[in-house]
């Protein structure tokens, strides 16, 4: 029982870290219909900025996160204006090609600037300490990830379902032409939601760095994981992404505990079964 609880706790933390990183991708793919394979690259940029802020500037963790989010969005804005805007209404394959190209460039440039070694983000003392939960001790950082994930999920749900911006966004997604005639400035809506997705990825890159360490190949190494999570959840659905992250996190973690030798088999078999059973994702929207 204790073991099961302990595993569940780990699975929950891991799933939440995945959720924070992936939810931005789910939004771009589901709402804006852009297959942004460079999503992980932005998470990586966030991680690098936070690591630089923490190690070289000596800033605190909170400042590091803020700097990472702002910095990554600032880097992404010109990319959105110059490159992404051209592929919003293009075929998925063009989007794949373009965003893989962007990923390659970002990897090459980070490798050049920061070198090929792993970068860590210094944690504040409160988060670095193990916390005693009674049945086991868990790294304080993991509790922070779980809390952040819940806040992100709640905040996004509120933003999209309950605010004026959310209504405009959903309108622009359902029917861009109609939304424009009604006076919604879809370009701005798209730019804002793109910025939001990037900000979330940067945030995820920083808080998830203990699970997915920051190094130049981050962007390619975890590309598949991110894509799988988003698609299993159903692109564009926040509860779907949450469910997918928790489900896949649980399968991954318990699989690795019970049969570590075949951990990957379990994971991908589960993916195949879920996709076959729910071809639109766990909570995907019908097109």
């Amino acid at each position: 029982m204790q073991t099961a609880l302990s595993i569940a706790m780990d699975a929950f933390a891991y799933g939440m870290a995945l959720f924070i990183i992936c939810i931005g991708l789910s939004l771009t793919m589901g709402l804006m219909r852009v297959v942004n394979l460079a999503h992980g690259a932005f998470a990586m940029i966030g991680g690098y900025i936070a690591s630089w802020a923490g190690r070289d500037l000596g800033l605190g963790y909170g400042f590091g996160i803020a700097l990472a989010v702002i910095g990554t969005v600032l880097i992404a804005i010109p990319l959105e204006r110059l490159l992404y805007r051209r592929i919003y209404d293009r075929s998925e394959l063009s989007q794949v090609l373009m965003t893989i190209g962007i990923t390659f460039c970002i990897i090459g440039i980070t490798n050049y600037i920061f070198g090929p070694t792993l970068k860590t983000i210094p944690l504040p003392a409160e988060l670095a300490q193990p916390v005693d939960l009674g049945f086991r001790s868990i790294a304080g950082h993991r509790l922070f990830v779980i809390a952040s994930g819940l806040v992100v999920a709640g905040g996004l749900w509120f933003l999209i379902e309950r605010t004026g911006f959310g209504i405009h966004l959903r309108a622009a997604v359902e029917n861009a032409g109609m939304a424009r005639t009604l006076g919604i400035r879809t370009e701005i809506i798209y730019a804002l939601s793109f910025a939001l997705a990037i900000a979330l990825s940067a945030f995820g890159g920083v808080v998830g760095a203990e699970f997915l360490p920051i190094e130049p190949y981050y962007a390619l190494r975890y590309m598949v994981t991110f894509l799988v999570v988003v698609s299993v959840g159903g692109a564009g659905s926040i509860p779907g992404a949450l469910a997918a992250c928790l489900l896949l996190g649980a399968i991954d973690v318990t699989g690795r505990y019970l049969v570590p030798d075949f951990g990957n088999f379990f994971f991908y078999l589960a993916v195949i079964l879920v996709v076959c059973a729910f071809p639109r994702g766990l909570m995907g929207r019908a097109h």
């Binding site: 793919m29 297959v35 490159l83 051209r86 592929i87 293009r90 998925e92 394959l93 063009s94 794949v96 090609l97 373009m98 893989i100 190209g101 962007i102 990923t103 390659f104 460039c105 970002i106 990897i107 090459g108 440039i109 490798n111 050049y112 598949v224 894509l227 799988v228 988003v230 698609s231 299993v232 692109a235 030798d261 075949f262 990957n264 088999f265 991908y268 078999l269 993916v271 195949i272 996709v275 076959c276 071809p279 639109r280 994702g281």
Partner: protein, 335 residues
């Protein structure tokens, strides 16, 4: 659209046949000039041919059926491992090995197709990734059979027709590969223009209309998967014979993704687009990596972005546009 496609299928067949022959002759010419121009790079050129077969097979699925796949290397790797394992167990005739590879690829195509056709769009893409990862894992696990991550080595394919050895200079491997490519290309040209190929295209353009014609999509697409598997398996077997080592990289997501990039680069839905994409991408990678092995990735990335911005239909699409402008014939049937 689908109607136009079907009509053009019924159009006189002599002209396309003639064009095919010219196309084949040009490929042969290009291949032979490669042989004369770069007698010292034949191992690289053989690699280009085997990857070109993989990209061609991917084009059948992506370009002609509209099924996105990031797991095509599963079929390629199945062919490579089947040929490799057969070779180690005493079947050393290269032509027989190619056939074994093709059959293994086709069987794998049957299975992956049956799974992948259950979904559409992004979930389908993810299924293809999951399948190739699963096979990769299986090949790693079964190291008693496949050599695992150390690679399957120790193959000694017999000389082709008992005369031409697969040696350091790689002449026989290259010419053998070129012949294979020509045969496959000729067969595929016929297949994609056959009524069956047209139905596939129709399913891509307008599935509803095709099903209204009383055609059930699943077996048609599955058949294309099997053909695609045979082509990819041929490529894998060629790689196994020429390299005499099969590594886990031949069933990897990376190879699948590279193949897709090459295909989109060359232009989907044209057989020759697949060839152009492969040759340009691999030549670029090879040259840039030789000039500056340390930073080629940035440049390749920049080229990919430029292609999307300036040659949106891939290189072959752009060539077509130019050709159409020059001859005012605009020969893009089926679009």
């Amino acid at each position: 659209m689908a109607n136009a496609t079907l009509q053009s299928a019924a159009a006189p067949r002599l002209r396309p046949l003639g064009r095919d022959l010219i196309g084949l002759a040009l490929i042969a010419l290009a291949g032979l000039s490669g042989y004369w121009l770069f007698p010292d790079n034949l191992a690289f050129l053989t690699r280009v041919i085997s990857v070109a077969l993989l990209v061609l097979s991917l084009d059948l699925v992506v370009g002609y059926c509209g099924i996105a796949s990031l797991g095509q290397a599963a079929l390629y790797g199945a062919g490579a491992y089947a040929a490799g394992i057969a070779c180690i167990n005493g079947i050393t005739d290269p032509i027989l090995l190619i056939l074994i590879g093709a059959v293994a690829g086709a069987v794998t195509g049957l299975f992956t197709g049956a799974v992948m056709l259950r979904a559409h769009g992004l979930p389908q893409l993810v299924l293809s990734i999951a399948l190739v990862q699963l096979l990769h894992e299986a090949a790693n696990k079964a190291s008693w059979l496949t050599g695992g991550s150390d690679g399957l080595s120790g193959m000694a394919p017999a000389p082709l027709f008992g005369v031409f050895e697969f040696d350091l200079w790689g002449r026989s491997a290259y010419l053998f590969g070129l012949c294979l490519l020509l045969v496959v290309f000729a067969v595929l040209s016929l297949i994609v223009r056959s009524p069956f190929g047209m139905v596939c295209r129709g399913l891509k353009e307008d599935p509803l209309r095709i099903s209204a014609l009383g055609i059930y999509a699943f077996p048609v697409l599955l058949k294309m998967f099997v053909i695609s598997g045979a082509v990819a398996g041929t490529g894998g077997a060629l790689a196994a014979i020429a390299t005499q080592v099969v590594g886990l990289d031949s069933v990897s997501f990376e190879l699948s993704a590279n193949a897709l990039v090459m295909l989109v680069l060359g232009g989907i839905g044209h057989l020759y687009g697949a060839l152009i994409g492969t040759v340009i991408f691999m030549a670029l990678e090879h040259t840039v990596a030789a000039i500056n092995p340390f930073h080629w990735m940035t440049l390749v990335g920049a080229v990919l972005i430029a292609i999307v911005l300036f040659a949106p239909r891939g290189l072959s699409g752009t060539l077509d546009q130019i050709a159409a402008l020059l001859t005012r014939r605009g020969g893009r049937a089926g679009r």
